[in-house]
């Protein structure tokens, strides 16, 4: 965070998201929100509480349970002068909006030879361990990273969430913004001043020299916890958060890998063909001759997310699993 920003308060990630939306809605009358139970209910996670009082039901628009429909309406509205923010309650429901995001929103600008634009944001949640089982717990952000025309944002702190969301709302492209539902209560410093964070700029969350841990979303906290555990073994871990998985700040990742020569990539999505695979490949290509060991990947176990707490807990990366992997890599 820039040091010049002094008037800083502690906000939760949920509050930071709400503040970003409120500020952008005040700034630009074309911005509106639509989704299920977002108005008086303020979403199931209460992230948007209070917005309807300030902006009214026309701009904080409760929709029927029709994810494809209201996402499609948002695409058309974005093309014709509005700047919609679509709320997809659980990222698992991404399956329902895929045609609208992948075949419509992502392609309209290209297919029209650059004539129509789709300035919209799709907000969704990700993350397991809420005991919500297989259809309310997945982290499906990698799907969107696969598609040219979309940008994909994964904030890990309240500060990043606010700055990145404001950038997303001002972007002229469809942006998919994933919030980890387990992080809404996470507190962190957020300046009172208006600020934005550019896409494609990774953030070094912790400087280190022996190993690089690239982590996304809530896995940043996991990586920072593991880094602390590693300190006791005199292993200095650098933790890097790409913040946007597309565009991806390949340069920062590769430079850190060259410096430390050992890399672990942690992401809560499935590993197979996932974000960890892509980042590991980028680092292997960019820093191969500086690496002491193959890049390690840690993601969700390749099973549907189970309900039973001990089973579910076994599927997600933890401080301990990251710590052990790092220790073995540095041993």
């Amino acid at each position: 965070m820039p040091e010049a920003m002094t008037a800083t308060r502690e906000l939760t990630l949920g509050e930071a998201v709400r503040e970003a939306i409120a500020e952008e809605m005040r700034r630009d009358s074309r911005v509106f929100m639509c989704g299920e139970d977002i108005a008086e209910a303020g979403t199931v996670f209460k992230v948007l509480t209070g917005l309807v009082e300030e902006f009214g039901k026309d701009r904080v628009l409760d929709t029927p349970i029709s994810e494809a429909g209201f996402t499609g309406i948002a695409v058309g509205a974005a093309m014709t002068g509005m700047r919609p923010i679509v709320d997809i309650m659980f990222g698992d429901f991404s399956t329902l909006v895929m045609d609208q995001m992948v075949n419509q929103a992502a392609k309209v600008h290209y297919m029209s030879g650059g004539k129509w634009k789709v300035p919209m944001v799709m907000r969704a949640t990700l993350g397991a361990t809420r005991r919500s089982a297989a259809q309310h717990s997945q982290s499906l952000h990698a799907w969107f990273c696969h598609i040219p025309g979309l940008k994909v944002v994964l904030p890990s702190t309240p500060y990043d969430a606010k700055g990145l969301l404001k950038t997303a709302i001002r972007d002229d492209n469809p942006v998919v913004f994933f919030e980890d539902k387990m992080m809404y209560k996470l507190k962190g410093p957020v300046p009172a001043e208006d600020y934005t964070i550019p896409f494609g700029v990774a953030d070094v969350k912790r400087v280190g020299s022996d190993i690089t841990i690239v982590a996304t979303s809530s896995m940043v906290q996991v990586a920072l916890g593991a880094a602390k555990l590693l300190e006791e073994y005199d292993i200095s871990a650098e933790v890097i958060d790409p913040r946007t998985v597309w565009p991806l700040d390949e340069k920062t990742l590769i430079e850190s890998a060259k410096k430390t020569s050992r890399v672990i990539v942690v992401d809560e999505g499935y590993g197979r063909y996932g974000v960890t695979a892509e980042i590991a490949s980028v680092i292997a290509e960019g820093a191969f001759f500086n690496l002491e060991a193959p890049v390690k990947r840690i993601g969700a176990m390749h099973v549907p997310i189970p309900f039973s707490p001990p089973l579910e807990d076994a599927t997600v990366p933890t401080e301990q699993s990251v710590f052990e992997t790092a220790k073995a890599l540095c041993g």
């Binding site: 029927p64 429909g69 309406i73 509205a77 093309m79 309209v108 600008h109 030879g113 004539k115 789709v118």
Partner: protein
């Protein structure tokens, strides 16, 4: 009194001009599509081509009732909609041939013609895929108070898509100025819709409290009259409308679909072509009503043929986009 008579004469002359204009537009679409068929079968056109021949009265009748700034969304069978909304022949052909001068710089092709200048939000190759976009455009028009309406063209095949019903529900709830125009050409690709559509088409709209109408889609005057009335009502804030145009696809699903006997008879096709051709029907009416004579109609055909030929020449001679343009326009 004299003034009134003059005004009435002027009015009828304006109408006559409009009817002739619709004839010309339908001929333009027909000749455009015949040219596409020719280019395609001579392997001069890449990709796919879904021809609109036989359905011209629908696009022309509806678009004639729209303002230039009104929005449309179109389908994989979309050349007719684009031309009826005002697209230029030369840039249409250029796009179909994948040329830089095309409406989408060659990046969209036959199934994705889009043009903000004529309110064309884009043809869409996902069946029913543009229902959200059209409804969203109507949402903007209402929010921004522009007075525009949006027309969503789709075929009877799209009645199988859930998206359509989701957005119709919201359009009704929020009284959006959108008109869902179902072109019922009886076939979902190679399957008669008696095998794919249960119940009645119009009651689908009625279920949402949306007023639905059915019209003879081969009669351009009927389409125009009905569309005009609906557009006026929708523009005034009455909420969405649903219009089923009963029509027929004279040719195959796509240009290569030539052996069609396994899904429909030659006799059925022949009957539609000889008895229900929208251009013949309208031409005969113009002559009968003495609004045009045969020579005039032949003149229109000739003029349009010249325009089409010129447009093809333009598109054929136009350069392809340079390969370094391939990764431009991915992001705005």
């Amino acid at each position: 009194m004299t003034t009134a008579v003059d005004r009435s004469k002027t009015q009828s002359e304006i109408e006559a001009q409009q009817w002739r204009h619709m004839y010309r537009r339908m001929v333009m679409i027909r000749l455009f599509e015949e040219q596409v068929n020719d280019l395609y079968t001579r392997a001069l056109m890449p990709g796919l081509a879904h021809l609109y021949i036989g359905e011209e009265a629908v696009a022309v009748g509806v678009c004639e009732g729209l303002n230039p700034t009104d929005y449309i969304t179109s389908t994989h069978r979309g050349h007719g909609h684009c031309l009826a909304k005002g697209a230029a022949l030369d840039r249409m052909f250029a796009e179909l041939l994948g040329k830089e001068a095309g409406y989408c710089k060659g990046k969209g092709g036959s199934m994705h013609i889009a043009d903000p200048d004529t309110g064309n939000l884009g043809a869409n190759a996902i069946v029913g895929g543009s229902a959200g976009i059209a409804t969203g455009a109507a949402f903007s028009a209402k929010r921004l108070g522009t007075g525009q309406v949006a027309v969503c063209f789709f075929g009877d095949g799209a009645l199988g898509q859930g998206l359509l019903y989701e957005v119709m529900n919201m359009a009704a709830l929020w009284k959006l100025p959108v008109i869902y125009v179902c072109e019922n050409n009886l076939y979902n690709e190679y399957t008669h819709n008696s095998e794919t559509i249960a119940g009645d088409m119009l009651t689908r709209a009625a279920g949402f409290g949306i007023e639905g109408k059915s019209v003879d889609g081969q009669d351009v005057r009927a389409v125009y009259a009905t569309a005009k009335e609906i557009i006026q009502r929708v523009r005034s804030g009455a909420g969405p409308a649903f219009l089923v145009c009963q029509t027929y696809r004279f040719l195959g699903h796509h240009v290569g679909d030539v052996s069609r006997e396994y899904y429909r008879s030659k006799q059925e096709e022949q009957t539609w072509k000889t008895e229900r051709d929208p251009i013949t029907l309208h031409g005969d009416w113009l002559v009968k009503e003495k609004l045009a004579d045969r020579a005039q109609l032949d003149g229109i055909q000739k003029e349009v043929k010249t325009e089409v030929d010129k447009a093809v020449q333009f598109a054929t001679a136009a350069p392809y986009p340079s390969p370094d343009k391939v990764d431009q326009d991915v992001y705005a």
